[in-house]
Symmetry: none
Subunit: 203 residues, 4 copies
DNA sequence: TATGAATGAGAGTTCATTCAT
DNA sequence: TATGAATGAACTCTCATTCAT
């Protein structure tokens, strides 16, 4: 009984710290992500940070973990539903559009993570997300083209990386000559073309 | 650079500093790239750094500039020669193999730049290189498929990013299930498939 | 000051820093007034200085401000009381004696401020003190010689500067041929003579 | 015969350095008076400075020495001539006007010396000049008031300091309410009044 | 002699972390 | 538990001076 309020208070503190960390990260940038700044933003004393996190990196990790989890949910959702044939028609455009949506949903955070953080910080999460995406893709492809199972790991690895980076870079760079529809179309085209070369008809 | 080296020993100094900077960057990482560490590694006094560089960032820039120039030369070389039909046969596999070579030539440096540096630091150089590659690709495609000129910017943008990231990631991650030949094959396949979808026969 | 000290030990810290600053300034001189030296003298870490002061200059300012405030109080006190006729007799000798007292009270500090600090550092404080003295003098003179009010600003400006510098220089140089009584006598004489020329009888 | 050109060259170098030092001091201020800056301004290498001066302070000393010598000449000239009765009429106004002239002749340098240099740097020169002025004043007063010889040192000390500082401060502060004629008038008044109190009629 | 590259001690300052309260 | 004052190592950078050329 005594533990419940303590845990509740703890959760509140952790939430405040993480929320403040995200704010600092997005608004002030990675270089400004100092313990003092986060503590101030969280209206908490610097010492309190260390009640809940072993060091500065752990706060940053938590902030990014949560964002990555959000992105992960959005991305895998957007993949799973259409691929499972929930709706009729060609699922690929819907998948790609949803992917772009997923990345655009918190573009400022995406920008900080991709442009300011050393990529190594984000590596495990990044690889884990790619792995999950690959698994989904593999399952889908196995379903529509059971025969071509053998070389799948290699193909999904290539395809996932290609699609991912094109989508991310479009969100971040917003190239003037490429509209949202354009990039979705290109992602579809790239995927369909690659799969076709593999002897898989993606529709 | 602050001073244009006039004496022979000045050039020696600059070389020592830049070489030491590269060493520190590769062996100790971006976070350890401090002026004192670079000076120590160069067996030079901290003050000497500032004879030739206005600040720490300028040393780092020089180190990366040189590496980027090397990569740029290797990449554009590997693109230009084969595409110009210097040798017979299908140029695409040779191009992709050369691209992987270019990136592997100094993999440790590639790793530091891609994994430890905030991408923003490297952005101008990165975009410039992509731009050069796109120009070469555009020229080539315009030659073999004059009819499809209109949407080329969009297509080269997509293709260059996709190829680039797949190649870089393969060099850095060395996925167990994908051999060097595999990845070259996949790069060729991806390119050929995409171009085919555009109605361009790349052979 | 960066923080308003909230805890008792904060005030203790600030006092230690300021006291150490004063000690360093007086014993080691202005050139030796470095943050490290002050921190060492205060038996405090360098970082602690920056809890309470934005930079080195602010510590120095605080040290001098306090001394200037002390001097200011002593000087204006010594002027106000006698001039208001609290005691009988001629106030001028008492004023001048008190002025010399005020300056001698912390002669080593006076020496550092006058001889080692760039005067520009101290200018605002200096001018402010002179202004206060002039106001008191003006009030007094207006009382004893209401008719001569017009040119007073000019006359008090001259007189205050003359008296001030003669007194300061006597304290600092301690000329062998001029005793304390001598200089007090001369200050009185100079004042009385000047006022007499203006048609004001100062007794 | 070999020494002459060397000495000539040396003189040229010294002149360049000192001139550059003065320029730097006046235009960039005391804080910017660094050996590198002076060397650059003199179009001479930093190392060459040390052929002619033992250290930075010696250059500064030379710069100030020369200015002090100029001031000294102007001041003692302006005192000697009129006091010796070269012209008729009251010499005091002419003396004081000439004194203000002497100080205004290079006001920017006066400002740097008085406001930016630690007074201790200038002390010996300052005291020497005052001494010379006192000697002239003493001689003059001895001439016109032979009887009052005894206490003269004390009186000239007071008077010289008072006059000097009022004049200097007027030149530097240019108080709005006091014109040049005003300050000359006040200097005359102060002197005449003080001497009168001593029983000396200064006309 | 004159150069200017090289030096290196030391400057002011920051900030992740600790710990007494 | 929560605080926030205190820490101190490490940072970037300067500049009077030296010395090889």
């Amino acid at each position: 009984m005594r533990k419940v309020p303590q845990q509740a208070r703890s959760r509140v503190m952790v939430e405040r710290i993480v929320a403040a960390g995200r704010t600092v990260l997005v608004h002030d940038g990675y270089d400004a992500f100092s313990t003092n700044r986060v503590a101030t933003a969280a209206e908490v004393s610097p010492g309190s940070l260390y009640q809940y996190f072993p060091d500065k990196g752990a706060i940053l990790d938590e902030v990014i973990d949560r964002w990555a989890a959000e992105v992960s949910v959005r991305v895998t959702d957007c993949l799973s539903a259409p691929l499972l044939g929930v709706d009729g028609g060609d699922p690929l455009p819907r998948v790609m559009s949803a992917l772009v949506d997923a990345l655009e949903a918190d573009a400022p955070m995406l920008r900080v993570v991709m442009e300011q953080l050393p990529a190594a910080r984000d590596r495990p999460r990044h690889l884990a997300l790619e792995q999950r995406v690959r698994e989904i893709a593999t399952a889908y492809l196995a379903a529509i083209a059971p025969a071509r199972r053998t070389a799948m790991p290699r193909h999904t690895w290539v395809l996932v990386i290609a699609i991912e980076h094109v989508a991310v870079r479009w969100v971040l760079d917003q190239p003037a000559s490429i509209s949202r529809d354009d990039v979705v179309g290109e992602l579809v085209r790239l995927t369909r073309a690659y799969l076709a070369e593999l002897g898989i008809s993606a529709t």
